[in-house]
Symmetry: D2
């Protein structure tokens, strides 16, 4: 177990951290206030403020761009699209960078490392053909378009992804899409140009070979963004989550990724690194919450003492410290296993972190809100939005319970043979 | 310990339940959608929709009005202002009614039993003089005006209420108010006419005799609602929470309740029943969340089984059942102690429920959201708003930690003499 | 919900409390030390010290004897066997008495109210015929013999009681028993004269009609106490838990209780009140632990303050206070439901307390041990033994998980029809 | 963060694992049964059975002896006393070996790596003078004597070690000891020859410079083992925990380690690696408990399914898996920090694991007991004893709460300067 980042990664990490501290965090609160004011005054909060584009340009110029690109599949894309050093990073190398970007709501986007675009780019990189990559991957890496991911459906329990009922029917050299997706993350962004759609193609096949992934232009006839969905009352502009209907949407069969019936194969490959990214960002978020809790605990006084010294507060701070450190080590371990034995060998570790880390972050942030009193619940501080983020990720990419179940099955499988004897 | 409601209370309870089931719940989701649409289309979401006034009129006509009025202090107000039977109820009698109203966001207001108005009316009833009651209590009980409560301040740790720094300075036959309050609940309502303001009058007195409660007309010169505050991203229209500045606000000294320096005396008396109400409403809310969780668990299928039968879901349902029942019994017991031995004798029990019940409700609702998947976080269901309500009450009227601390002190006090020997 | 005990029960409760405080608690620690010394010096720790018989005689003389006898079935037994007032008590009446006896390891036995004898006596009272009652119930109520209960088996998962594999085969006017039971509680007592044995009679019947309850004299040929079992390292003398083998044990068919195949019917009736008793005793035990924790917290000093005021200790005391009070209310409610709607109507409530209360007690006692430091783990204080008691009851009469599952099923059943529509 | 063990350590680890699997585990259950039988038949359970000496000889011959010796201070002791390779190991290297030894009650002793001897040997190695090392360290490393550690006292709250009241008064070239210690671990072993005693020398000095560590022969006049103490009902033979009185015990001043008043300096250095050892052993113990839980869950059937698939069991298995893995990573990280930045730099990490790991192990073992039903509480399986071990370590070397408090203080200290500005 060697979690030490390479010298290059350590350098990038240091520069990313500095960029966030110096360029992003100082303006972040004002950015959110400006968006809120825009909304209040009847403006469109879904159009990113110009400042964001400036920061993105600056990050790209600094080579802090597309750092998520995986060493194993980056090819020449890293060199072509602005990653300093010109190659991708291992999961172990990228994990501490992801943690840093998690400290800020804007940072992942500033560095072109935000979900769901990163996952979608990875799919294109790993499973897309050259034409698909030319059409969609290049502009995504370039930052000129954005993308969305359409999997979850309102009418079925999506915790069991094989329940997906939207259809992707092959019809000559076309594929015809029908159905309704929701929690289609990223669809609210004005630059969103493409949706990765998963639909049922072979209803009678083995249940993991029934579905197909299709690249669907947002402006294809029959695609309708029915509404944008708030999660815990928040729309998470400018990316957002949408409910999208697909009515007799026809796209060329060349829009199919990897091949008909191979959606689960793709999803499996897509999700490993994505879960590491989500979890590391949440660790960064939890760290900011703990830092805020400590500062507040020292600054405010009640009953004649700093509130950090009242009741169980200091113990809660200690438990948060332990919880964050343990979670970070679990994620680093999962990243290292991904790098050394691959997604299949890291199956338990990936599900462990997905089941454990968001709940941990939710709890730490809840404590931080509590120690801040009313301010903690308000939008004056980023804590309330942070809580919503952590809460939502307990459901995104599979609810905690599904991941726990997998971890339990894998654990029992170690002993099944002995038991069978 | 006899928690049996009187026959009259049982009858009222049954009628309130029926009213909620038949008149309020069927329209509630649409009400929220209409408000949201109003907001989207640039309308004013703070003006209650006409439907609400109709329901209120109907409830009043049915005698299901001002049921919160306490038997001990109701005097002839219950008879004058629409309570069927013409007298107030004990805490034990009212508790199950409060639970029922907690099942709906609108219900407390429909029955003129919503916070903070109930608490403010109790203050006027118990501590106001005849002129104060004539001016403010009558229209409040009549439902023609609304009120707000201004205690918490942004610049100090309000968990220690003696920290309050806003001033209420006596100046001849006037009192002059300066300072800034926030989380002034109820201030957003267009009918809000009066604020109960707590301010520092005698900085050198014993710390519980420094502050004064003053009745301040919302339109008094120098009173400015600086902004309305979201809690967990929600504004809770039409009541809302505001940040309010007071700049050289002059009101007659006759606006002082009970007398200068007696704000804590009032707050103490105000909070006992109020905490019972909050907690019983939260129990109603938690029940609706558990019911929704059960229904969803039975309706949706994953991995070939209803999700209620997957993993630990059935255990979680059982634990929620136990947690809600235990919490209800604790609150009934606190209500019964309030009725039989008074607020002082019920000090521990009141703080016990305030420390325990909101956190219980938060947890049950969190589970209910989780079993609903993405829908649980959306605004399509009332769960996400319910969670915010429970979360906010963990801070309102004193954070959990302050109440736990009091419970711990009282418990230790039982043994202090023995230890001293 | 009226949990108020009758005047007679309140009087008995007061006298039981006084007896425990004045006669039992002052000698209890020494009693345990004497037994330990006896064991060390090679004596037989299973023979109760004479003092115990003296206390029992005294309790009986005071009419504080067999107070567990249920009002509904006591008949003239209460009058004949020493219960002051001559009739049985309701569950609501007896519950506070059971709590008091739980404060002492010896008290339940002193008042002839200890498990498993109480449960066995209830079986005989409710389901035994006159000859069975004459032979076994009279001496049990008289205190001249003791009894054991044989259900759990080492080779099967006894959480599912239908797994029981020991056999009770009908053979003419005899019944022949074979198999092995363990955790046969009470078997270690030198006065133990009879075992209530459950065995498989009709392997092909409906699974709840397969087993038969048989009264087996301990000295019947073929009955062998193979060993006594420690639970968490303790033998719980003088009652103990044994592993007992039954090899071709022949007893007359008149030893069958109620009839062949009716063991589950009996067990169901036996367990309701028994679970209330267990839980109330555990609440008494948890109260003593919390009292000890408070005293220790006030007496000992570390880092310049009483340890009760260090870190989260005061919060933990508060949480224990809340947990105990909530648990007590749940048990009183279950007792009241047993009294008012019977065992079937109280099914969920009984399983709720059995799933909840022992775990609560375990946690409170664990905290009390922790605040006592090393002394808490030693045998100088009763805490360590108390912990073992609570831990064992999480398995006795069905593990927590089985009870939670039942509560969950009953909760879901309320909604099953709606879901089926 | 590089937790990879050296090639030599990996090899030793593999051999230790094999030795435990092949030589110790197969006989361990019988060993405990033999000791129990010895006790039952009036024999002395404190004399280790001859088998233990044989295993120790075998381990030593294999070079698997004194592996705990720290690379930094081992000098030529590792070569002289049987460690294969002839040098000590880093904490990172030794940690996985400690985990393996934790899988067995006997293993630590078999490899001469058991507490408190390891800690005492480290003290002698690091702080003892040559004469002290010749007299006590050589035979300890040789395994011909055993040692005890006397710190905790019955009359004071030992969580604050500065409370220690036993005295070590300088008198010419002698030091005179008076007082009473308990939980003097190791004192029950017949080969125990020396006690490391901590006593008060300078009552008026700074509170961390008041106490002195003295090497006291067990047979010194005035040393009396008053009794052996059970922890959770267990005596933990053959090491045990004793209450020891010191009455005018006179030993030469040359028995003082490091110098008068320097006991805390020694304790600080002693405890870092010791806590890593304790925690890694507990992780091994928790792993065995989880393995047993999985096997039992697969083997036993209830309600028609393997119990692992009932209710929340599979989730609990998953949570145990995550908890153990997270704990192991925390301990490895603490070991690595000890190696790379020393005890002072690893202060928080060491207290983190001490506060976190024993409680984690306690919980995992509790679950394993529960899934085993009655067998889990019995002495037929090692789970019940394992639970007691974990529980006791939550108090040994400072209770959880003291360690949490330190972690909290260190966390807040990072922000104190900012707050002060």
């Amino acid at each position: 177990m060697d979690f030490t980042p390479s010298a290059r990664a350590a350098d990038l990490s240091e520069r990313v951290g500095r960029f966030i501290d110096e360029r992003i965090l100082p303006i972040e609160a004002q950015y959110h206030r400006d968006v809120a004011a825009l909304r209040e005054s009847g403006g469109d909060p879904w159009v990113p403020l110009p400042l964001l584009a400036e920061l993105r340009a600056e990050a790209r110029k600094a080579g802090l761009w597309n750092l998520f690109l995986p060493a194993a599949h980056a090819g020449d894309y890293a060199a072509r699209f602005g990653t300093d050093g010109g190659t991708g990073l291992t999961n172990t190398d990228y994990a501490p960078i992801a943690e840093l970007t998690g400290r800020s709501f804007l940072a992942p986007h500033v560095f072109n490392c935000n979900a769901p675009d990163t996952g979608n780019m990875e799919v294109l990189l790993q499973y897309g053909d050259q034409a698909q990559r030319d059409r969609w991957l290049d502009p995504l890496l370039d930052g000129s378009i954005r993308s969305a991911f359409g999997m979850t459906e309102p009418e079925v329990a999506s915790s069991d992804a094989t329940n997906m009922a939207a259809t992707a029917v092959l019809d000559g050299d076309e594929v015809v899409l029908n159905g309704r997706k929701w929690w289609t993350t990223g669809i609210g962004h004005p630059d969103c140009a493409v949706i990765l759609f998963m639909g049922l193609t072979f209803p009678d096949a083995d249940k993991h070979r029934r579905h197909t992934t299709v690249l669907v232009p947002v402006d294809a006839p029959g695609v309708t963004v029915e509404r944008l969905l708030p999660a815990m009352g928040r729309y998470d502009e400018p990316f957002g989550h949408g409910e999208v209907s697909f009515t007799d949407v026809r796209v060329p069969a060349t829009s199919i990724v990897l091949g008909p019936g191979r959606a689960f194969e793709i999803a499996q490959g897509r999700l490993g690194p994505g879960r590491v990214h989500h979890c590391m960002r949440l660790i960064g978020l939890a760290e900011t919450a703990l830092e805020a809790a400590c500062r507040r605990g020292l600054e405010r006084t009640a009953f004649g003492r700093p509130i950090a010294r009242l009741g169980g507060n200091r113990e809660r701070i200690a438990k948060a410290r332990i919880a964050i450190d343990a979670a970070r080590l679990l994620v680093l371990n999962a990243a290292w296993k991904l790098d050394t034995v691959g997604a299949l060998g890291a199956l338990s570790e990936i599900s462990q972190i997905k089941a454990h880390v968001p709940a941990m972050a939710q709890e730490v942030i809840d404590f931080a809100m509590q120690i801040h009193g009313g301010a903690g619940l308000s939008d004056d501080l980023p804590l309330s939005a942070a809580w919503s983020t952590a809460r939502a990720i307990r459901l995104a990419d599979g609810p905690d319970e599904v991941h726990l179940d997998l971890v339990g099955r894998l654990e029992l499988a170690k002993h099944a043979q002995q038991a069978a004897r």
